[in-house]
Subunit: 329 residues, 2 copies
């Protein structure tokens, strides 16, 4: 039985951040909402002496011929070695036999894509129909991808960016200006970003809130995609308490490793605080944005259904294009 | 950066069930006992509509250049397709950068090895010094491997086997007789096996106890290696309550998915029932067998440190032998 091995460069040539990627991720979320998926809790391992951590995510979607198991790693001394901090790989297994079908050596590329795609989906479901100014907090790779993804579903005219280091924000603006063809300005503060944007995406590994509740304004949508571990927190707990609507990718994950965890720990909201899931909205089981002046907040922690969805999609696209090394095993 | 891909046949040609394999697994357990390892809880996913399940195990051992993440699958309709039920693969990641170093497409071979090696280790630490008759409950692959492993550390002269289907037990005896060069007899019952053996290993996926407390006799050692999930249980709870000593590979796992779980649920032992770990005994931090007439029981659920130990060992042996396909990723 031949196993297909795909490399990062083959996968990059096969799939990009486009509407198809957003659609495929949305389909995964809808399967979860319809109880057509099994998604166990994330396996996490911290390697403190290495400044490293590794997460394993998976989900089985009934009806799909394969499921993915995804490993993502963050090793924060890597930049000293000239390597990116984040990496990872995905493996596809047959849903019929449990045997390995394909190994996707993507070094985290597919995780980047599916994370950005979830951001686009959240905005598509919850942001105002017309967005003039978008804002982004953070200046890293996801800050770039999230704004490219948002632009697919809400083609904003202006982008405000803020990061802890203004040089990084300047560089970010420089790089993305050509790519998106929009006006991009560096803001003086996170507050300026929030007060002047209709959609804001936070993309940081921050352990302290970056957005305060006093900055919220009618019609604002915020997506917080940075927190994905117990110590992380981008939104002041009052942001969640005071928003008209709080949505997440997976409630159990948001409560364990996302913004809901911090808000509950703070006492700002109750343990059983209501949180509709993105998949239920995408499936029409719950409403999306209900009014022009609603303040909506979405927390994305990253889920196994996204991994299975993107891995299978990338595998199909790459093998259709003739890529892959075949190993007889 | 080249990633090494090793196939099952390459791995089979590189590592076998021998004393080196037992030693390498023992080293992993000692690292765990000495707090030199990080080992998160097992990730498990049941795919009921497919009669399948998948487990992910991992451990990071400080000082080792790589750590493994191991996926094992059990798909119980596979025999209808002419495939074994169990399969799996291991991936080795750099402990320094978190990046993929090697993919071991072993289809579960290395899991089989490290599981049998742990059985040998448990017997070496807990069985009487001289074993005339060994017993095995179950007739599958692990029943074969466990007796080969036991024979490495306790070269018994006679083996008693019992399985639910006597034809399988006859076939088992036939196959192993030549391999071990010992007398092998098929027993009429599990009771006969236990009453006449000094060491017994249970190797089944049973959900009901196979061994009763009334059969225990002075000097007996039992290793139960079958249960590794919530529904499974090979030993009557009273076996654990009445043994002089209960040992396990990892207490938290035995209490969650092993024999200790069933014994606690039954009320036969308290929640905080004492259980020394194999690694602590191997490291000399706890005693092994303390008296000739002691009755000892060891529960093995299978741990991530075994996977990291065997994967790294197999990788080194295989690459030293010149095996592997190299993928530039």
């Amino acid at each position: 039985m031949a196993i297909t091995v795909l490399t990062e460069s083959e996968l990059r040539r096969s799939v990009d951040l486009d509407r198809s990627a957003v659609d495929i991720v949305a389909e995964g979320f809808r399967a979860l909402a319809r109880d057509q998926a099994v998604m166990p809790p994330v396996l996490s391992m911290a390697m403190d002496d290495r400044h490293g951590e590794v997460d394993v995510k998976t989900a089985y979607v009934r009806g799909l011929e394969m499921f993915a198991i995804k490993v993502s790693s963050g090793f924060f001394d890597n930049p000293k070695l000239g390597l990116p901090s984040l990496s990872g790989m995905m493996t596809l297994f047959s849903s019929e036999t449990g045997r390995v079908q394909a190994v996707l050596l993507d070094n985290g590329y597919l995780t980047d894509l599916r994370t950005a795609a979830a951001g686009a989906l959240a905005a598509d479901l919850l942001a105002p129909q017309s967005v003039g100014t978008a804002g982004v907090i953070g200046t890293g790779l996801q800050a770039r991808l999230q704004m490219r993804a948002l632009h697919l579903v809400r083609p904003f005219r202006r982008l405000l960016v803020w990061g802890r280091h203004s040089a990084n924000a300047e560089e970010y603006a420089e790089n993305l200006r050509g790519e998106l063809g929009t006006e991009i300005d560096v803001a003086a503060s996170a507050e300026e970003v929030v007060r002047h944007s209709e959609v804001v995406v936070t993309t940081t590994p921050s352990q302290r809130p970056l957005i305060e509740a006093g900055w919220l304004h009618p019609g604002l949508h915020i997506t917080a995609m940075g927190s994905d571990a117990e110590g992380k927190n981008e939104l002041d707990p009052q942001v969640i308490a005071r928003a008209d609507r709080f949505v997440c990718d997976r409630r159990s994950q948001s409560a364990a490793i996302g913004e809901l965890r911090a808000a509950i720990a703070d006492g700002a909201v109750a343990e059983d605080f209501a949180c509709d899931e993105v998949g239920a909205i995408s499936a029409g089981m719950k409403p999306g944005r209900r009014a022009d002046d609603e303040v909506t907040v979405c927390d994305l922690t990253g889920t196994g259904v996204q991994d299975t969805a993107i891995a299978l999609y990338a595998y199909r696209r790459a093998t259709e294009a003739g890529y892959g090394t075949f190993i007889n095993a």
